[in-house]
C-alpha cells in the first residue's frame, strides 16, 4: 500500500477531494464505456467487406436532432460536475478556522522546509509535528505557506491537495488527520536542482505526545561539561556554520539553513534525503554532494578531527 496514495485519504480535505474524485471518475468511465462501445461497434460493423461492389454508401450530411442530443447531454453532465466541484472548493478553501486550530508557518527554501509555530515559539525544520484532530472537537492545523526564494509546493497526498509556496504571495491550507502516524510527501513544484529530494514528513501525534514534543522543542540546549563536546561547539561557532544555522541560546543565529537546536529530535536530515545517524550526519557535513548533489550546504572542508567534534556536538542537540 503506497504511503502517498491519493485514494487513501486521512484528513478532511483529502476526504472531500476523494469523494469528488470518485464521482468524476465514475462519470468519465461511464462516458468512455458508452462512446468507446459505439466507436468499436462502428469500426466492426461498417468495415468494408471483401468482394464489396464498390458503390458508395448513402451520403448523410448531418442531422439537427442528433446534434442537439449530443450537445444537451454533455451540457447536463458538465453542469452536474461543476456543481459538485463548487461545493468542494468552498468547503476546502473557505473553511472557517475553529478556535482550537494550530497555526504553523511553512517557509519553503531551496531545498528544505522551515516550520515556525508562532504561538508556541518553536522553529524547526523538515519534519512537521501536528496534533491529531478529533472530529467531535476539531483541532486542525492551519498552514500559512511562504517562500524564501523560488516557487515550491506542499504535497502530502493522504492529508490534502497540494498548495504552492510562492514568494511575495502567501497561501494557506489546512489538514486534520484523526489518526496518528507518519504521512509522507514531497515538494511538487520544480524549484531547482534538488527539487527531487525536498521530502516532507508529517508526524500526526496524539495530544499528549504532541504536547510533550512541544515542551521538548521549547527547551534551550544545556552547555556541556564534556571537553570534546565543547570543542565541537567551538568549531561550530567559529567556522561558517553560524552564518546559516541557528542553535537557540548560543551565538549561532543564521537563518539561511535549518534551525539545528533540536536536530536530534528528527529522524532524517537533508529534508528526508538521509537517515539521521551519526555516520550520515558526519558525511553530510563533510561532503553534502554525496547525499544531495547541488544542495546549498557547502562542503565545510573541516579536518577529520574537527568533523568528529562537530558531529559529537550536534549529537547533543536533542
Amino acid at each position: 500500500m503506497s504511503p502517498t496514495n491519493i485514494f487513501a485519504p486521512a484528513s478532511t480535505p483529502a476526504d472531500s477531494i476523494f469523494g469528488l474524485s470518485m464521482f468524476v471518475i465514475f462519470t468519465v468511465t461511464a462516458i468512455f464505456i458508452v462512446v468507446g462501445a459505439l466507436l468499436t461497434y462502428a469500426i466492426v460493423k461498417f468495415r468494408n467487406k471483401n468482394g464489396d461492389d464498390r458503390t458508395e454508401p448513402a451520403q448523410i450530411y448531418g442531422s439537427s436532432q442528433v446534434e442537439m442530443a449530443w450537445t444537451v447531454i454533455p451540457v447536463l453532465i458538465v453542469v452536474a460536475l461543476s456543481l459538485a466541484t463548487a461545493r468542494v472548493i468552498a468547503s476546502v478553501q473557505d473553511a472557517p478556522r475553529p478556535p482550537g486550530a494550530l497555526e504553523v508557518t511553512v517557509i519553503g527554501h531551496q531545498y528544505w522546509w522551515e516550520y515556525r509555530y508562532p504561538k508556541l515559539n518553536i522553529v524547526t525544520a523538515n519534519e512537521l509535528h501536528i496534533p491529531v484532530s478529533d472530529p467531535a472537537r476539531p483541532t486542525p492545523t492551519f498552514l500559512t505557506l511562504l517562500s524564501a526564494d523560488t516557487d515550491h509546493s506542499f504535497w502530502v497526498p493522504r492529508l490534502g491537495g497540494k498548495t504552492d509556496l510562492i514568494p511575495n504571495h502567501p497561501n494557506s491550507m489546512w489538514i486534520d488527520p484523526p489518526e496518528p502516524g507518519l504521512y509522507l510527501g514531497q515538494c511538487a513544484q520544480y524549484c531547482g536542482v534538488q527539487h527531487a529530494k525536498m521530502l516532507i514528513r508529517v508526524y500526526a501525534q496524539k495530544r499528549e505526545d504532541f504536547d510533550r514534543w512541544v515542551h521538548q522543542q521549547q527547551q534551550l540546549p544545556h552547555a556541556s561539561a564534556d571537553a570534546a563536546i565543547s570543542a565541537g561547539q567551538r568549531v561550530f561557532e567559529s567556522t561558517a556554520c553560524v552564518n546559516c544555522h541557528t542553535v537557540s541560546g548560543t551565538s549561532a543565529n543564521g537563518r539561511f539553513g535549518p534551525d539545528l537546536t533540536h536536530l536530534m529530535s528528527r529522524e532524517t536530515i537533508a529534508s528526508g534525503a538521509a537517515a539521521n545517524t551519526p555516520e550520515m550526519l558526519r558525511l553530510w557535513i563533510k561532503n553534502p554532494d554525496a547525499i544531495k548533489p547541488g544542495s546549498k550546504m557547502p562542503a565545510m572542508g573541516l579536518s577529520d578531527r574537527d568533523l568528529d567534534r562537530v558531529t559529537a556536538y550536534l549529537e547533543t542537540l536533542r
Binding site: M1, S2, P3, N5, I6, F7, S16, I17, L20, S21, V24, I25, V28, I31, F32, V35, L38, L39, A42, I43, F46, R47, N48, D52, E56, P57, A58, Q59, I60, Y61, G62, E67, W70, P74, V78, A84, T85, A86, I89, V92, D149, D151, K162, T163, I166, P167, N168, H169, N171, G185, A188, Q189, Y190, C191, G192, A196, L199, G272, P293, G294
Partner: protein, 556 residues
C-alpha cells in the same frame, strides 16, 4: 522525324547539387517550405525522443545514477521546449503550408517571402536553443542548456537563480520562433480569406481550411503574450527590471498568467490541425461526407474562443480565490462540450460507411479512441479539487502526452501517410506502415496508460529520482519499456518514407479516390499547383465530377 540524331534537349536538365540546395534554401514555394518545416520537425522529433529516453532510463529505478540531477533537469526542459516549439509547431505549419493553398485552389500562400522568412526565423530558434549546450555555461561550467522547465516559472529564471546564459538561450529561441509563428499565422489567415478559388465560399471550403484559419487566429492572439512575457524577462535579466522580481514587490504569479494565456491556446494550436487531418481522412476512408460540416465549423470556432478563457486551470494550486478557481473550472468544462461534439461527428461520419483500414485510417481510428481518453482525463483535471492532487504529478504528464502524442501525433502520422503519395508521387509501403502503427500503438499505451498510476500514487513530475517504497517502481519500469517500442515504430516510419520516396510505386493523382481539390492535380503537384484556376460548386468538387448524377451541391 526519321533522323537518328539526338539533341541536348532530349536529356532532362541536369542541375548540380549545389544549385539544387540553393533552390531549397531560397525557395518561397509553399510546398517546399512545407516540406522544409516537416523535415526540420522530424529531425527534432528524434532529438526530443533521445532526451525522453535519457529521462526514462534514469527513472527506471529509484536512486538511479544514469545521469546527474543537473543533466536530468536540462533534459526535461529541452525535451518539452523542443517537442512543442521545434517539433509540433513546425509540423502544424508545415502541413498548413503544403496543404492550404492546394486545397483552396490557390497558386501559393498570400505572402511567399514572408513565408520563407517565417520558416527561417523558426529554424533559427532551434539553433539558439541547442547552441545553449555549448554557449550556456551555467554555474558549474559544464554545458549549459536551460534547466528551468519548459514553462520557466519566475523567479527561477531570475539572474539570482539561473546563473549564466542558459535561460537567455531559452528566451532568444522562443522570441525567434515566435516571430516565425506569427508571420506564418498571418499568412495562413490571409491566404484562406483572400485566395480561395472561384465558387469556394467560406461555407464550401474544406474543413482543413476552417480549422487552420482558427489555428491562425489563435496563434496571432496567443503567441504574442508569450513574446511580451519573454521581453519582460529579458528586461529583468539584462536591464535590472522588476517585472517578476518578488524582492521588489513583483509577482511570480503574473508570469504564470502571462505564460498560460499563451500556453493553453497553444495546445489548441497543436490540436486543431490534428482535428483537420481527421476531418479529411475519416470521410475518405469511410466513403462518406463529413457528418455535420456546419456544426464542426461552429464547434471549432467555439473551441477557439473558449480556449482563450481557460488558462488558469494550470494554476489551480497557486492560491487563487475560490471564485476565480470556480470560473476556470466552468470555462474548462465548457470547452469539453464542443470538443465532444467533434468526436461524435467523426463517429457519425464512420457510421453507415464502408471503412477501409489503410494506414492513414488506422492512425485516425486510434486518434479517436485516444483523444476520447485524453479528453476525459482532461475533464478530471478540470475538477479543481481533484487537480489539487493531480496537478504537477505524473497523472498530468500522462494526460498531456496522451493528447499530444496519442491524439495529435497519431492524427499527424495519418496525415503523413495520406498525403505522402501526393507530395512525393510515390506510394509508401503499406506493410511497413501497419508495422509502424502497431509498434507505436503498443509503445504508446505501455508508456502513457501506465504513467497515470504513479501520479495517482503521489509521484510528482520533474524529479530526477525518487524514494523506494512508495509503490512507484514497477510502473516506472513499464513506462520505460514502452519508449523502446515507440522508438522502433519511428525508425520504421522514417525508413518507410525514405525508401518509398526513392523506390515506391508510382501513386498517380488520386490513389485514395478522394474528393478535395489537391487530388485533381498531379503527384507531386507542379510548382504552380493548377494549370487552370479551378472553380467549385460544392465542398467536394471531385465527388461532383465523379458522381455527376448525384452531386453534393444539390444537398448543401
Amino acid at each position: 522525324m526519321s533522323t537518328n540524331t539526338i539533341s541536348i534537349s532530349d536529356f532532362p536538365a541536369y542541375r548540380p547539387v549545389t544549385l539544387r540546395l540553393h533552390d531549397w534554401v531560397t525557395t518561397v514555394d509553399h510546398k517546399r517550405l512545407g516540406i522544409l518545416y516537416i523535415l526540420y520537425s522530424l529531425f527534432f522529433l528524434v532529438i526530443g525522443g533521445i532526451e525522453a529516453t535519457i529521462m526514462r532510463i534514469q527513472l527506471i529505478r529509484p536512486h538511479n545514477d544514469f545521469v546527474s540531477p543537473e543533466v536530468f533537469n536540462r533534459m526535461f526542459t529541452m525535451h518539452g521546449t523542443t517537442m512543442i516549439f521545434f517539433v509540433a509547431m513546425p509540423l502544424v505549419f508545415g502541413f498548413a503550408n503544403y496543404l492550404v493553398p492546394l486545397m483552396i485552389g490557390a497558386r501559393d500562400m498570400a505572402f511567399p517571402r514572408l513565408n520563407a522568412f517565417s520558416f527561417w526565423m523558426t529554424a533559427l530558434g532551434g539553433v539558439f536553443l541547442y547552441f545553449s549546450f555549448l554557449g550556456g555555461d551555467g554555474l558549474y561550467g559544464g554545458g549549459g542548456a536551460p534547466d528551468v522547465g519548459w514553462f520557466a516559472y519566475a523567479p527561477l529564471t531570475a539572474r539570482t537563480f539561473s546563473v549564466g546564459h542558459s535561460a537567455d538561450f531559452w528566451v532568444l529561441s522562443l522570441l525567434s520562433s515566435g516571430i516565425g509563428s506569427i508571420g506564418t499565422a498571418i499568412n495562413i489567415i490571409t491566404t484562406i480569406l483572400c485566395m480561395r478559388c472561384p465558387g469556394m465560399t467560406l461555407g464550401k471550403m474544406p474543413l482543413l481550411a476552417w480549422l487552420n484559419l482558427t489555428m491562425g487566429g489563435l496563434v496571432v492572439l496567443a503567441v504574442s503574450p508569450l513574446t511580451a512575457a519573454q521581453l519582460m524577462l529579458l528586461v529583468d535579466r539584462y536591464l535590472g527590471g522588476h517585472f517578476f522580481d518578488t524582492q521588489a514587490g513583483g509577482s511570480a504569479v503574473i508570469w504564470m498568467h502571462f505564460f498560460w494565456i499563451f500556453g493553453h491556446p497553444e495546445v489548441y494550436v497543436l490540436a486543431i490541425p490534428a482535428f483537420a487531418f481527421a476531418s479529411e481522412i475519416i470521410p475518405v476512408f469511410s466513403r462518406k461526407a463529413i457528418f455535420g460540416y456546419r456544426v464542426m465549423v461552429l464547434a471549432t470556432i467555439a473551441i477557439g474562443f473558449i480556449s482563450m478563457s481557460v488558462w488558469a486551470h494550470h494554476m489551480f494550486t497557486v492560491g487563487m480565490s475560490s471564485g476565480a478557481n470556480m470560473f476556470f473550472v466552468l470555462s474548462t468544462m465548457a470547452i469539453a462540450v464542443p470538443t465532444g461534439i467533434k468526436n461524435f461527428n467523426w463517429l457519425a461520419t464512420m457510421w453507415g460507411g464502408k471503412i477501409r483500414f489503410a494506414t492513414p485510417m488506422l492512425f485516425c481510428v486510434a486518434f479517436l479512441f485516444q483523444f476520447l481518453i485524453g479528453g476525459l482525463t482532461g475533464v478530471t483535471l478540470a475538477v479543481a479539487p481533484f487537480d489539487w492532487n493531480l496537478s504537477n504529478s505524473y497523472y498530468l504528464v500522462a494526460h498531456f502526452h496522451y493528447v499530444i502524442v496519442g491524439a495529435i501525433l497519431f492524427a499527424t502520422f495519418g496525415a503523413f501517410y495520406y498525403w505522402f503519395p501526393k507530395a512525393s508521387g510515390k506510394m509508401y509501403n503499406e506493410t511497413l506502415g501497419k508495422l509502424h502503427f502497431w509498434l507505436f500503438l503498443i509503445g504508446f499505451h505501455l508508456t502513457f496508460d501506465f504513467m497515470h498510476i504513479p501520479g495517482l500514487l503521489g509521484m510528482p513530475r520533474r524529479i530526477y529520482t525518487y524514494e523506494p517504497g512508495r509503490g512507484w517502481e514497477i510502473w516506472n519500469v513499464i513506462v520505460t519499456i514502452g519508449v523502446f517500442f515507440q522508438a522502433a515504430g519511428i525508425l520504421v516510419f522514417v525508413f518507410n518514407l525514405t525508401w518509398s520516396y526513392f523506390r515506391g510505386q508510382v501513386a498517380g493523382n488520386d490513389p485514395w479516390d478522394a474528393w478535395t481539390l489537391e487530388w485533381s492535380t498531379s503527384s507531386p503537384p507542379p510548382e504552380y499547383n493548377y494549370a487552370v484556376v479551378p472553380a467549385v460548386r460544392s465542398r467536394r468538387p471531385l465527388w461532383d465530377l465523379k458522381h455527376p448524377e448525384d452531386p453534393d451541391w444539390r444537398y448543401e
